[in-house]
């Protein structure tokens, strides 16, 4: 068997294992989905009047705020779902099972590739669920072309890949599931200080650069632009640059840890 076909075959075996876990124990993923959905409902229905007034220029129409917040919530969903990957990777690494895999004649990285692909697929499923909630409360894309929909799909997939690699690295660096879950907290906290809920320019001046240039804001602004026709500007290439950069960083970090001799 060639190196590539070995990699594909073993990685898909590992992927099947991950999907089996996800299917057998959906509660972990569903729990992680609670946060973005609660945030969505909280900001729209509880804080909605003030938020809508702030966004809509004094006009308390919720539909404008729903349109504003849903792309942010979708990106937050990605950050939230990949925490599950950090947890399952750290759980795997703490088990004797990984030692078994390492002493088998399989493609060495297949375990990680299986985790990464499984995580991206799970994120996409999560986005469908959360997106459906968004649509149910009134979110509609305005005049997005097929090309823009495809670009939006590509963007969320790429961003999901980037955050997954970071989460896998965090999982490897954590001795147990609790530590992994703590370490991955920034992935769900960062959206709170992005333009997900309020525009970055309404934040204090000293804080604006942090909000504007952290990974979530460009990704959220680009998704807004694609689905709602707002200005994308430099956010497009920044979102791609962040995604590629985080993917490479997360990949190298994960592999360096995985290839170290276990004790």
């Amino acid at each position: 068997m060639s190196a590539l076909s070995l990699a594909v075959r073993d990685s898909s075996t590992m992927l099947r294992r991950n999907l089996l876990h996800a299917r057998r124990y959906p509660s972990l993923t569903l729990n992680l989905l609670l946060t973005p959905v609660m945030m969505l409902l909280l900001f729209v229905y509880i804080f909605g009047d003030v938020m809508s007034a702030g966004i809509g220029g004094g006009n308390a129409d919720r539909s404008a705020y729903i349109a504003y917040i849903v792309p942010g919530i979708l990106m937050m969903t990605i950050g939230s779902t990949v925490i599950g990957s950090a947890i399952s990777v750290s759980a795997d690494m703490a088990e004797g099972l990984v030692a078994r895999f390492r002493t088998m004649a399989i493609h060495r990285s297949s375990l990680i590739i299986g985790h990464v692909v499984g995580s991206v697929l799970q994120v996409l499923a999560a986005l469908l669920l959360v997106g459906a909630v968004g649509v149910a409360i009134g979110f509609r894309s305005v005049d997005a072309t097929v090309l823009e929909w495809l670009a939006a799909f590509g963007l969320v997939a790429l961003f999901a890949l980037a955050l997954t690699w970071i989460a896998v690295g965090m999982g490897m660096a954590s001795p147990n599931a609790e530590a992994a879950s703590n370490m991955a907290m920034p992935l769900i906290l960062l959206p709170l200080i992005s333009s997900a809920f309020i525009p970055a320019e309404t934040m204090p001046g000293w804080f604006q650069p942090i909000a504007e240039y952290q990974p979530f804001t460009p990704a959220i602004e680009t998704l807004r632009g694609l689905l709602l026709g707002t200005e994308i500007g430099h956010n497009g290439w920044m979102a791609v640059a962040w995604s590629v950069g985080l993917s490479v960083l997360g990949y190298r970090w994960s592999m360096a840890q995985f290839n170290k001799d276990p004790r």
Partner: protein, 337 residues
Amino acid sequence: MPPRVMSTFKSRSAPASPRPSSDAIFATGLRKSYGDKTVLDGIGLSIPAGSVFALLGPNGAGKTTAVKILSTLITADGGQAQVAGHDIAAEPQKVRAAIGVTGQFSAVDGLITGEENMLLMAGLHHLSKREGRRIAAELLQRFDLVEAAKKPASTYSGGMKRRLDIATTLIGNPSIIFLDEPTTGLDPRSRHNMWGIIRELVSGGVTVFLTTQYLDEADELADRIAVLSNGKIAAEGSAEELKRLVPGGHVRLRFTDPAAYRSAAAALREVARNDEALTLHIPSDGSQRELRSLLDQLASTGIEADELTVHTPDLDDVFFALTGDVAHPAQTEENVR
């Protein structure tokens, strides 16, 4: 008492061509340290194919480290080894294709069922779906796991987990199996079951490398035993050879009457006394002839011991002698001599 180290492997420690054809596992000068702590201090092994080899040692002696190195899980700091004819450093994938490893900690996926664990391993061994199902069913049957096959492995008892662990190891049909403390933590019944499983493996022609801290286990299963102490192999040989390393057996006489004890001690030659316990140790190989002459001596002086026990050296004696455990009661008793 420093034991004489048997040097069966020493003569082969620097062969011109390090590729002994008949050895399933061959190693020389393996070293590993973590920081300042030297875990393996140059060990050599030569294990013929189809035999059972036991690496015996107390906790922390380096047994698991040796298994990890030979099974390519970690790399050695020095020395070299061939497993199944392949160098562990140069051709780890070829080594991996020939071995099966059951580590000290359960290597089953607790979240999925026993059957799914088997099929996962079948997939990783690149068996066809049909072949995988067939072998999985066969092994589940053989290891008495059919009833539990559809239950998550996390619900299994310790013994069942070990059985599943070994069953998944066998899917790849390995020619060499590493078992790191296969019976630690098992109840006596599961332990005996495991022994049966290991014997069965050997009868199928598999080479078994097992580590254990139980002497009876090594005695029971292994063709050859190496005693690992402080990162070095303190002795190596068959159970019989190792037993010959320590001073021979003895007959122990116990008295309740101090007067009888004293007169017996005076009457018998070559006797080790324990004045507090009122026991006497008389060196003896336990043969009928020696016992009769001892009994004759006692009878002729009219002394009657309250209890007579024959003690033949077992691996415990060897183990404690070699690993220098002074807390062992038999050892302190001997020192009274």
